[in-house]
C-alpha cells in the first residue's frame, strides 16, 4: 500500500504537467472558438499531423531535437538556482560557429566532431560574461541574458550578411560542408542523427546532476546557497559551471539545427530555423520539470505541436502562433504550485455533490 502511494507520488509531477497541458489546450480552444474556428477539427488536424504516421513522428522528433538541448540549458541553471534565459543567443552563436568550421576541410567523422566542439565552445564563451557579471557585479541573469540575446541577434545578422555570406546566394550563409553534416535517420524526413547527439547530452546531464560531485554541488547550491557555502561549496564556481555547461549545450542546439536539418544546411538571413528555439526550450524544461528525462518527453510533445501546428495552418487555417499561446498558458499554469491542490479540491466537491 505504501509503495503504491510512493509510486503515485512519483507520478505527481507528471500529473501536474498533464493538467497544465490540458489547461493550455483548453484556453487555445477557447481562443479558436472566439475567432470562429472549430477547435475539435483543429486539434484533430494538429495531432494527426504530429503523431499520426511514422513520417509525422519523424518530423516531430526532428523538431524536438534542438528543444531537448535548449531545455537542458535552462534546466541545468534552474537546478543551480539560476534563471538562464540566454539559450536563445547562445544557440545563434553556436550555429554560426558550426558554419564557420565548414570553411576548413577535414575528414568526415572528425569534421563533425570539430564542428560540434566549436559550437559548444562558442556557446560557452557567449555565456561566460553573463556568469562573470553575476559573480563579480551581481547583475541579475535575467537582465544580462536578455541583453546578450539581443546582442547575439544583431551580431548574427552581421555575420550572416557580411562575413559568412554565401557568395552565390546573399540571403544565407555558406552551407555546412558535406563532411560535417549529420546524416538522416529516415529518408525524406528531417529526422537526423542530431537526435542521437541530443540524447547523449541527456544521458550525460542526467549522470552529471545525480552521480557526480559536480552535480551534488550544483543542486545543493540551487536549493540553498547558504547551506552549500557552509558545506564548503563555492557559489561562484557553481554559477560558472551552470552557465558554461548550459552555454555548451545551447551551442550544440544551434549546431545540430544547421548540421542536421535538411534541406538548406545553412543559416538563412532572419534565422527562421533558429528563432525562438531558446525560448521554447524554457517551456519544454518547465513541462519536463527540469528533469532530463521529463525534458525528452516534453520536447517531443512540443516538437509535435510545431509540426502539427503547420498542418493545422493549412486545413482549418488556424495560425501556427496559436501553439505559442498554448505554451504560454501551460507555463502560467505550471507557475502555480497550488494548481493540483485546487483541482483535487474541486474534484472532491463535485464528487460530494454527485
Amino acid at each position: 500500500m505504501s509503495s503504491f502511494r510512493q509510486f503515485l507520488q512519483r507520478l505527481n509531477p507528471l500529473a501536474e504537467s498533464l493538467l497544465a497541458g490540458v489547461i493550455g489546450l483548453a484556453i487555445g480552444a477557447a481562443i479558436m472558438l472566439g475567432f470562429g474556428y472549430n477547435p475539435v477539427v483543429a486539434y484533430a488536424s494538429l495531432f494527426s499531423g504530429s503523431f499520426g504516421s511514422v513520417y509525422s513522428w519523424a518530423e516531430s522528433l526532428a523538431n524536438a531535437t534542438p528543444l531537448i538541448l535548449t531545455a537542458l540549458t535552462f534546466a541545468i541553471a534552474m537546478r543551480g538556482g539560476l534563471f538562464n534565459i540566454g539559450a536563445e543567443g547562445q544557440l545563434y552563436i553556436g550555429a554560426l560557429a558550426a558554419v564557420t568550421v565548414s570553411l576548413i576541410h577535414l575528414p568526415p567523422p572528425l569534421h563533425i566532431i570539430v564542428a560540434l566542439a566549436a559550437a559548444m565552445i562558442a556557446g560557452m564563451l557567449w555565456s561566460l560574461p553573463v556568469a562573470l557579471l553575476k559573480t563579480t557585479r551581481g547583475v541579475h541573469e535575467v537582465i544580462s541574458t536578455i541583453m546578450f540575446n539581443w546582442i547575439a541577434h544583431f551580431f548574427a545578422f552581421y555575420l550572416i550578411a557580411n562575413v559568412l555570406t554565401d557568395p552565390k546566394r546573399g540571403e544565407k550563409t555558406i552551407s555546412i560542408a558535406e563532411t560535417s553534416r549529420l546524416g538522416r535517420i529516415m529518408p525524406d524526413a528531417s529526422l537526423n542523427y542530431g537526435l542521437v547527439v541530443a540524447l547523449v547530452a541527456v544521458v550525460v546531464v542526467l549522470f552529471l546532476l545525480w552521480r557526480t560531485t559536480a552535480g551534488f554541488e550544483l543542486r545543493a547550491t540551487g536549493y540553498n546557497p547558504e547551506s552549500a557555502n557552509y558545506a564548503g561549496i563555492s557559489w561562484r564556481k557553481q554559477v560558472l559551471r551552470a552557465f558554461l555547461i548550459g552555454g555548451a549545450v545551447a551551442g550544440l542546439a544551434g549546431a545540430v539545427q544547421v548540421m542536421g536539418r535538411p534541406p538548406t544546411y545553412a543559416v538563412l538571413s532572419g534565422m527562421p530555423q533558429l528563432l525562438n528555439l531558446g525560448f521554447d526550450g524554457i517551456g519544454v524544461a518547465m513541462i519536463g520539470r527540469n528533469h532530463p528525462v521529463g525534458i525528452v518527453f516534453a520536447a517531443i510533445f512540443f516538437g509535435g505541436l510545431m509540426v502539427g501546428g503547420r498542418i493545422m495552418q493549412f486545413s482549418p487555417g488556424v495560425p501556427l502562433e496559436l501553439v505559442r499561446v498554448v505554451e504560454g498558458v501551460i507555463i502560467l499554469a505550471l507557475a502555480v504550485p497550488e494548481l493540483k491542490r485546487m483541482f483535487s479540491f474541486l474534484r472532491t466537491k463535485i464528487k460530494g455533490r454527485g
Binding site: T213, Y223, N224, E226, S227, A228, Y230, A231, G232
Partner: protein, 524 residues
C-alpha cells in the same frame, strides 16, 4: 489535560478570563511524526502574568501564534471574553485586543522606530503623522519606563533596544492581552528583570500577559500562574505559589540535568584555535579597535556566554570561513587561516554545528543520505574521481542514523525538510563529529533535544574532549555553558570582557559581564 489547580487566595482568580483556548490541536502539513499541539487548554485572565513553560520544541510558540491569529489550527476553539472567535490573520487578532511580541523581532530594519510604529496604524492612508506618533511614543515611554529614541533607525539599535521597540509598537494597538514569546532571549539577566517590572505593571493595569519561556528562574520571577508544556502536550497548569522549582523541572524536562559535568583536567597545552584582535567584516562600526582575542586549547571546552547580537554569529562565521575579517588573525592548529574559504577550514578539521540548523546546517530539499555527507561527498570512499559512490554513502548514513538515534523513514527518499528539529540536530551532530575533528564550533548544540539526548550529546562532547578536540561552545543558555565548560568567556559588543574557570563560576558575575560590566540602569 486535567487542571491541577487548587482553589487559591492568589490574586486575579476572580478576574475576567480574557482569552481562552479549548482543545487546541495542530499538525503541520507534511510533518511526519506527531501532532505539534495535542489538545491544549489554556486561559489568561485580566491582571495576571501566565507563563508558558517548556523546552525548545515543546510547542509554546505555536500556541501563541495560534492565539494571536498568525497560525491556523487543526482543531479546538478560541474564546475572547467568553465569545468564540475565528481569526485568520494577526490583523483580526489585533482587532480583538490580542497582540503578540514574536521572538524573531517583527521590525523593518531600514525604518526608524517611529516609522515601524506607523506601519501598523490606521491613519488615513495618504498623510504622515510622524510627529503625533513620536509624541505618543514619548508618553508610552514615560508611562512604562521603556527607553527608546523614536527617530533612531532600527538596524542601528542593539537587540535589547529592538526588543523594547517591538513592545512599544505592540502597545500602540492598546491590547488587552499581550503574548510575549521568549522575550528575554535577547536580554541580559538585569535587563530581563527590568522587563519583568514592566510586565507586572501592565498586569496591574488589568491586561492579561502570556509570558513564554524555558527558564525556570523567570517563571518564578514574574508569573501568577504557569502552564507546562512538553512535546505538544499539556503537563498541567498551577499557581506559582503552590509549586516548587523541582516539581516544575520534573514536569518540564522529565529529569534534571546536572549543574556541572565532572571531568579530568585539560591534558593538552597546544592551541586548537586562536583569535587575535579579530574584527569581523560588517562590525567595523560596532566593535572596538582592540577586537576580539582568545585561545581555545586542545582537549578543552570553552564556553562563550553573552546576550544574542553581541557579535557571536559574526565570530562563528569568521572562524569557519563564512565571513572575512576586517582586522586581526585567525589561527587554527597554529596555521594562519585568515581570509581562507570555508572549504579550507573544513579540510583542516573545523567542525561547525550551526545555530540555524534548518537554514544553514542542512539543504532541506535534499535527502537524508545526501545531507549526512554534505561535507564529505568529495572525499573517498564517498566519491572516487568525482563520481559519487551511493553504496558507501548509504552505509555511512545508516551508521550515523543508528548511532545518534535519528528517526528517519528512508535515507534516499526522505527530504530533510520533513524531519523534526531534534532529528535534524542529531544528523548534524553525527555529521560534524564522526571524524573526531580537532576543532568543533558548536552553537546551541542541544536546542530542541530531549533530556536524554542532551545528556548523550554532553557525554559525546566530553568524550571528544578526552580525545583532544577543542570545543568552542556558544550559547545564550547560561545553564548549558556552566554545566559543560572548562572555561567560560563572556562576549559583549564583539569583545571578550571576562574569562573564568568553568567549575564554580558565579552566575551573578557572568550576568554582570554580559551587560558589559556596567551596573544596570536604575529600574523605573
Amino acid at each position: 489535560m486535567v487542571e491541577q489547580t487548587a482553589i487559591s487566595p492568589r490574586r486575579a482568580v476572580q478576574n475576567q478570563v480574557l482569552l481562552e483556548a479549548r482543545g487546541i490541536s495542530k499538525g503541520f502539513p507534511g510533518v511526519w511524526e506527531h501532532l505539534i499541539l495535542d489538545h491544549i487548554d489554556f486561559d489568561v485572565r485580566a491582571g495576571e502574568v501566565h507563563s508558558l513553560l517548556g523546552e525548545n520544541g515543546a510547542g509554546k510558540t505555536v500556541i501563541a501564534n495560534i492565539l494571536s491569529g498568525y497560525y491556523g489550527r487543526t482543531a479546538g476553539e478560541i474564546r475572547v471574553k467568553g465569545k468564540a472567535v475565528n481569526f485568520s490573520s494577526p490583523r483580526e487578532g489585533l482587532a480583538h485586543g490580542i497582540a503578540m511580541v514574536h521572538q524573531e523581532l517583527m521590525l523593518v530594519p531600514a525604518f526608524t522606530v517611529a516609522q515601524n510604529v506607523m506601519v501598523g496604524l490606521k491613519a488615513p492612508n495618504l498623510s504622515f503623522h510622524l510627529q503625533q506618533v513620536e509624541k505618543k511614543l514619548a508618553e508610552l515611554t514615560a508611562h512604562y519606563g521603556i527607553q527608546v529614541d523614536p527617530r533612531a533607525r532600527v538596524e542601528d539599535l542593539s537587540a535589547g533596544e529592538q526588543q523594547r521597540v517591538e513592545i512599544l509598537k505592540v502597545l500602540f494597538h492598546e491590547p488587552e492581552v499581550l503574548l510575549l514569546d521568549e522575550p528575554t532571549s535577547l536580554l541580559t539577566p538585569q535587563e530581563a528583570d527590568q522587563l519583568f517590572v514592566v510586565l507586572r505593571g501592565m498586569a496591574d493595569e488589568g491586561k492579561g500577559i502570556v509570558f513564554i519561556t524555558h527558564k525556570m528562574r523567570e517563571v518564578f520571577a514574574v508569573s501568577d500562574r504557569v502552564t507546562v508544556l512538553k512535546l505538544g502536550k499539556m503537563q498541567g497548569t498551577c499557581y506559582i505559589s503552590e509549586t516548587t522549582e523541582d516539581e516544575l523541572t520534573r514536569r518540564t524536562f522529565g529529569e534534571t540535568v546536572p549543574d556541572y559535568m565532572e571531568r579530568p583536567p585539560v591534558k593538552f597545552k597546544e592551541n586548537a584555535l586562536e583569535v587575535q584582535h579579530l574584527v569581523p567584516k560588517g562590525l567595523e562600526d560596532k566593535a572596538n579597535t582592540a577586537g576580539l582575542s582568545f585561545a581555545l586549547h586542545k582537549g578543552e571546552i570553552l564556553g562563550l556566554a553573552g546576550v544574542a547580537g553581541n557579535g557571536q554569529s559574526e565570530l562563528i562565521e569568521c572562524i569557519t570561513g563564512l565571513r572575512p575579517a576586517a582586522q586581526g588573525e585567525i589561527l587554527i592548529l597554529d596555521r594562519n587561516m585568515t581570509d581562507c574559504l570555508p572549504r579550507a577550514f573544513i579540510e583542516l578539521g573545523v567542525a561547525h554545528i550551526p545555530e540555524r540548523r534548518r537554514e544553514v546546517g542542512m539543504v532541506e530539499q535534499m535527502f537524508v543520505a545526501e545531507n549526512v555527507v554534505l561535507k564529505d561527498y568529495r572525499t573517498p570512499p564517498f566519491s572516487n574521481h568525482t563520481v559519487l559512490n551511493h553504496k558507501e554513502i548509504t552505509r555511512h548514513t545508516e551508521g550515523i542514523v543508528t548511532r545518534f538515534n535519528a528517526l528517519v523513514p528512508d535515507l534516499w527518499k526522505t527530504e530533510c525538510r520533513i524531519l523534526s528539529g531534534g532529528n535534524i540536530q542529531r544528523l548534524i551532530l553525527g555529521r560534524e563529529t564522526w571524524r573526531k575533528p580537532p576543532v568543533i564550533i558548536a552553537s546551541h548544540p542541544t536546542e530542541g533535544l530531549d533530556a536524554k539526548a542532551i545528556r548523550h550529546t554532553w557525554e559525546l562532547f566530553l568524550e571528544l574532549r578526552e580525545n583532544g578536540s577543542g570545543i568552542l561552545l556558544i550559547s545564550e543558555d547560561l545553564d548549558e555553558i556552566m554545566s559543560l565548560s572548562d572555561r567560560i568567556g563572556v562576549i559583549f559588543e564583539s569583545a571578550i570582557v571576562g574569562m573564568v574557570e568553568g567549575k564554580g563560576a558565579d552566575r551573578e558575575q557572568l550576568g554582570h559581564w554580559m551587560a558589559g560590566g556596567r551596573l544596570p540602569a536604575a529600574t523605573t
